[in-house]
């Protein structure tokens, strides 16, 4: 069961968890990324490349599902304007064993950071600034390459 969604409304974690839990895997891992407020950000705007985004997320979910024999994989990404504390992204994996669920979950969020066409713009007061690429994100994604 692959579930991919790019949404302008709040991510319903309880509903998404329910989907993962009903897949019958026994082990469910999730990762949720939230807008942080600790550096004065008042608004986070997420732009994306429609259709390409869904394709990128779908490819990631399918790759994870095959590589870790998942019962279910979920990738949900919010777009548009968000406030601190709101959920930006939710990835989840259901599997027969915990290591598979946890690893697949790490894979999904690491690779999403480098492979999916989203861009963040932070607003602090009158200052709106596009977030720059992070070297550490490329390194994190690279560790999932198969030799």
């Amino acid at each position: 069961m692959i579930r991919v969604l790019v949404t302008e409304v709040a991510i319903d974690v309880a509903a998404e968890l329910d989907v993962l839990e009903r897949a019958g895997g026994g082990a469910v891992a999730t990762f949720t990324g939230l807008v942080r407020d600790d550096d004065g950000v008042e608004e986070l705007f997420l732009e994306h490349y429609p259709v390409a985004t869904e394709k990128a997320l779908g490819d990631l979910a399918v790759e994870a599902a095959q590589r870790w024999s998942l019962a279910a994989a979920t990738v949900i990404h919010r777009v548009g304007a968000m406030k601190p504390g709101e959920r930006i992204v939710l990835v989840g994996a259901a599997a027969a064993h915990r290591a598979a669920a946890l690893e697949a979950c790490a894979f999904l969020i690491d690779r999403l950071k480098t492979d999916a066409p989203f861009w963040k713009r932070e607003t602090r007061g009158q200052d709106a600034r596009w977030v720059g690429e992070r070297e550490s994100d490329r390194d994190a994604a690279d560790r999932w390459k198969r030799s």
């Binding site: 732009e47 390409a52 394709k55 999403l112 480098t114 492979d115 999916a116 861009w119 720059g132």
Partner: protein, 84 residues
Amino acid sequence: MIDLLYFAWVRESIGLGQERVAPPDDVADVAGLIDWLAMRGGGYAEALGDKARLRAAVDQLFVPLDTSIAGAREIALFPPVTGG
């Protein structure tokens, strides 16, 4: 004719998100297309002047800038992605 899409600060600098262009025949790859667009000056030059800051997708597939644009229907130009 190729549909061009711009995202994030590339879109903001150029001042539009989408346009249709017919590049001359000597524009062979994405890098050449970027140079050709930057020659328009103004927001184009500002957004596209430094290719190290740019990434591209041809027909919705992420590609290196030396990728041929022959037969491409849709090309997107944007900064490195920062989702998640």
